[in-house]
């Protein structure tokens, strides 16, 4: 058997196409990995998607996969597929800096469950992707190691917090990537970079090995070029994990056939009252176009009522910051990570290590979270926010009893210019206004490419699904792909990032 050793076709190439070629022996995993690194060396100096690379490990793993194929064994559904993993997910002997000076020196001693599952499926981690420090942010500008830039327009942010992962896929370094989504951190960069980006139902993907930001909201999710790749990666990483007590015992695999099923007769809800203020006119236009395309597919669109999203913002920032203040307490310079050289006694060890190690946004959130849990304030903030969260859950459940999914924009605007919102945390928080409710109610939600601004920036739309029902969401996205010209999609032939870095 003489497989070609030339690199694969110019990106974008889907993960399933690569895996198919590697499994069938048409393409060497080694060649796929080299092509990925070659692409990376071309785009990385401009875009800064990665915080560290796994070149030696990736090449060694590619050789193993090629040997397995040569020996007639199947390396799995993601055989030879290069993948970028957000650097708040641990890989043994690698890193989990969380884009923080605090964890820059830390070397993980174990693999996250998702990393183990990716490896077992034949995927090859090529590097760890940039993010907002501890996943707190919406632009990657909070990374202690500098922001990633949007491959569609490098004067703009790629979104965040999982910006590096989105950039890796949109710029053709890897066909898929993993991010984490606590309030929209997978979906919003997915929207800004023209990708399909899924936040699974809470508990469907193990959090073991994901450095916790807000434990009750965090979910790891995939970035992909289209719905089928997204489902493929989801099926690999999801499923019960005994190491995560919040992991769901329910079967949640989507399978290869679910996405082919027609969507005619399905019902989509549109929360019209959510779409009034602060929405970019181009986003409104793309929303209209998307509604039309779904109508063309035979889907019914109906207006639905949901609790106003402004309550979601305050609820979210109370709960997320409360959990974060406790989750980030372990980073104290005592056992691992950064320890201040200036420490003189225990208190100064804590104060200086944390003072030097954390960036301003992380400190702001720890302070807010500590405050809302304090004696005398707990009931007014944390306890009340939990009750409001329950109301949101009830509101979404009631609506989702009437419709198969809810359609809305992913973000109020396309990708914004670097520095535009860094001085105003509240306006940054508002860029998550449409995404955070999914984390509060724990249901799955997906962002998918649906159009482009007149300036050529991707604009994503979002679907909220019923409890545990990723399959319906991706089925709708797949149907939409069949009725859509690909404007603003990184998968479209000759999409701007591909052209710009060719």
């Amino acid at each position: 058997m003489s497989a070609p050793v030339t690199p694969p076709a110019t990106p974008p190439v889907t993960a399933r196409a690569l895996a198919h070629a590697v499994r069938s022996g048409e393409l060497k995993a080694a060649a796929v990995v080299e092509a990925s690194f070659a692409r990376l060396s071309r785009v990385e100096p401009t875009l800064h998607a990665f915080l560290s690379l796994r070149e030696d490990a990736a090449r060694a793993r590619a050789d193993e996969i090629d040997r397995a194929v040569a020996a007639g064994r199947d390396p799995g559904p993601l055989a030879g597929v290069p993948i970028a993993v957000k650097d708040n997910i641990v890989d043994r002997g690698g890193s989990a800096t969380c884009a923080s000076k605090m964890l820059a020196p830390f070397v993980p001693t174990y693999d996250a469950t998702v990393v183990e599952r990716l490896r077992a499926a034949g995927a090859i981690v090529v590097g760890k992707a940039n993010l907002d420090e501890f996943a707190m942010g919406s632009s990657t500008e909070n990374s202690a190691f500098g922001p990633s830039l949007n491959p569609w327009d490098p004067t703009r942010v790629p979104g965040g917090s999982s910006g590096g992962s989105a950039v890796a896929v949109a710029s053709g370094v890897t066909p898929v990537a993993l991010g984490s989504d606590t309030g929209g951190s997978v979906r919003q960069p997915g929207s800004f970079c023209g990708l399909v980006a899924l936040k699974p139902h809470y508990g469907h993907v193990s959090r073991y090995g994901l450095v916790a930001f807000a434990s009750s909201l965090d979910q790891i999710g995939p970035f992909a070029l289209d719905a089928r790749d997204c489902a493929l990666v989801f099926d690999v990483i999801s499923g019960f994990d005994p190491m995560d007590s919040t992991s769901s015992p329910h079967e949640c695999r989507i399978g290869p056939l679910a996405l082919e099923r027609p969507v005619a007769g399905m019902r989509l809800g549109v929360p019209r009252t959510w779409l009034t203020e602060g929405l970019d006119a181009e986003v409104v236009r793309v929303m209209d176009e998307t509604e039309c395309r779904f109508r063309d597919l035979g889907v019914d669109l109906v207006d639905v009522d949901l609790m106003p999203p402004r309550y979601a913002i305050s609820t979210y920032y109370i709960l997320a910051n409360a959990e974060a203040s406790s989750n980030l307490a372990r980073f104290d310079g005592v056992r691992y990570g950064r320890r201040s050289a200036e420490a003189r006694d225990l208190n100064s060890l804590y104060e200086r290590s944390r003072g030097e190690g954390f960036g301003p946004e992380v400190k702001r959130r720890i302070l807010m979270g500590t405050f809302v849990l304090s004696s005398g304030y707990y009931d007014a903030y944390y306890a009340k926010a939990q009750r409001v969260r329950a109301l949101f859950k009830a509101s979404f459940d009631a609506t989702l009893n009437q419709v198969d999914a809810i359609l809305m924009p992913t973000a109020p605007t396309p990708a914004f210019v670097l520095g535009e919102k860094t001085e105003d945390p509240l306006s940054m928080y508002l860029s998550d206004i449409f995404t955070i409710s999914a984390n509060l109610v724990q249901n799955p939600a997906v962002s998918f490419p649906a159009g482009a601004s007149t300036g050529g920036l991707p604009i994503g739309m979002q679907l909220y699904g019923r409890s545990r029902d990723e399959a319906t969401l991706l089925r709708l996205v797949a149907a939409h792909e069949r009725n859509y010209d690909g404007a603003g999609s990184a998968l479209a032939p000759g999409a701007p990032p591909t052209r710009a870095f060719a």
Binding site: A329, V334, R335
Partner: protein, 493 residues
């Protein structure tokens, strides 16, 4: 020892102490509360650890089912209500031996609530309320080498994540002696149930006390202080007594008790202030989002109830009834489950008199074992050998004196009773002719004593018995000798 100038009893009587105890008991599980690391005591520092108990980035807790079962067991044994839905909460505070800088514990919805424990103190029994029993993980240990030039702190995280229950009593205790009795009863119960090994030296059982005093006859509580580090039964009683007297002195002098946490220093025999109310931690408790509510089904609770072994109080009552033992002896023999089991096994032997076996085990065997620092389950005298000894005594093949010598030798050498009797040629002289001859000889040689006896000094009777035993080299049948001497002294043929 401190030489507390004792408080004027009249002054002391004007005040009533109010005490509640918080006891931490390490659960007897093989593995930790939220990971698979072993819980064995005494391993080299930082060898029983994994990413989870080290609080590494990204780890998550998974609850140990066995620990839940043990907590439920203790709850049921103290008559608590076991919650079918309890919540784990995070208790947030920074400490170097607490790797996550929060402890996973239970706060407003503990697993067990509202039980009681009966104690005996001052010749009376008292019911002491148990407010709650909750599950939590232990922290590690900070060690301060304190050698010249070395100001470092070393941290051993082996104990980190070890499962504990905290048993909180109501403020129902009224003296240090009652606190001691409560702790004794609690330890006995924990050991009986095999919930905790009760070893205070190794830290498996730890006690904090809340102490206040109030004017005798009044109901409102006084300001309390919390005493920490009461790590032996002796310290508990001494520290509480010290604190009661300190508070009374202060109040009598017109001062006020300040709410604070005090640390007992056993070598100085006094307390020092650890922190006052103003520096009290705000633990910022909130439900741990990594752990769903703990559901203990009623079926599970019933199963644990069904497996519950006989509790000490019930066993004691049964021993009194079934073996006709005194309250005191029954209490001694039911102190530990191992001792009670040993006694019952011996008493079940053919030809063993249960009451006499109780005396022999409670006084002779335990005395000998205690002298050597051995526990009952380390006894060199097996149940079978003890039965054999009891049978020989019952059949009067050995008298008490020889029996005691034999028992001591059995413990010392581990030899069987048969070997020992044969080695010494111990054979009880029981034929009346030989015994009568010895009795006659002693009576004849002791005219003064005989006269005294007949003049009414009956206590001298023991003298004659002793002389006869001496003459027989200890081998005379003591019961028969008694009879023969009595007859001789009465002047009967």
């Amino acid at each position: 020892m401190t030489t507390d100038t004792t408080l004027d009893p009249a002054m002391r009587a004007r005040w009533e102490p109010v005490i509640g105890l918080e006891v931490h008991a390490q659960l007897r599980t093989e593995t930790k509360l939220f990971c698979g690391c072993p819980t064995k005591f005494g391993a080299p520092p930082n060898t029983q650890v994994c990413p989870v108990c080290l609080g590494h980035p990204g780890v998550l807790p998974v609850l140990n089912r066995r620990a839940v079962e043990l907590a439920v067991r203790m709850g049921l044994a103290t008559g608590c209500v076991v919650r079918e839905d309890s919540i784990f909460a995070r208790k947030n505070y920074f400490y170097p031996d607490l790797p996550k800088n929060y402890q996973i514990s239970q706060y407003d919805r503990p697993i067990c609530e509202g039980g009681a424990l009966t104690i005996e103190a001052g010749g009376r029994t008292h019911g002491i309320g148990i407010t709650r029993i909750h599950l939590e993980e232990d922290a590690g240990k900070s060690k301060h080498p304190e050698q010249a030039g070395d100001h470092s702190t070393r941290i051993d995280l082996n104990r980190c994540g070890t499962p504990l229950i905290e048993i909180v009593s109501e403020p129902d205790l009224r003296s240090a002696a009652q606190a001691h009795a409560y702790l004794t009863a609690l330890k006995q119960l924990l050991q009986y149930l095999e919930v905790c090994d009760g070893n205070m030296e190794e830290g498996s059982l730890r006690c904090d006390a809340n102490v206040s005093v109030r004017r005798a006859g009044t109901t409102p509580f006084g300001t309390r202080t919390e005493l920490k580090n009461l790590n032996s039964f002796r310290f508990v009683e001494r520290a509480i007594d010290f604190e009661i007297e300190r508070q009374i002195r202060r109040l009598e002098a017109g001062g006020a008790v300040v709410q604070q946490t005090l640390l007992w220093n056993p070598s100085l025999g006094e307390t020092r202030v650890l922190r006052s109310k103003e520096d009290a931690h705000d633990y910022r408790y909130f439900p741990d989002p990594d752990l769903p509510p703990l559901r203990v089904s009623s079926e599970w609770i019933d199963r644990v109830r069904g497996e519950l072994s006989e509790l000490p109080a019930a066993k004691r009552a049964r021993f009194e009834r079934d073996y006709a033992l005194s309250f005191l002896d029954a209490g001694v023999l039911t102190q530990t489950r191992a001792l009670a089991d040993y006694y019952e096994a011996v008493a079940a032997g053919e030809g063993v008199d249960a009451k006499s076996a109780a005396n022999w085990i409670a006084s002779e065997l335990l005395g000998q074992l205690n002298k050597r620092g051995l526990a009952i389950d380390e006894s060199p005298v097996s149940v079978g050998e003890m039965q054999s000894l009891m049978q020989r005594l019952g059949e009067r093949k050995l008298n008490g004196k020889l029996g005691k010598m034999a028992l001591e030798e059995m413990i010392e050498s581990g030899a069987t009773i048969e070997t020992i009797v044969a080695r010494h040629g111990w054979e009880i002289v029981a034929d009346d002719a030989s015994l009568q001859a010895m009795v006659d000889q002693v009576i004849a040689a002791s005219p003064t004593q005989v006269a005294e006896y007949r003049a009414g000094k009956e206590s001298i009777y023991r003298y004659f018995v002793g002389q006869v035993m001496k003459l027989s080299k200890g081998q005379a049948d003591a019961v028969r000798v008694d009879e023969l001497i009595a007859r001789a002294l009465r002047g009967e043929p």
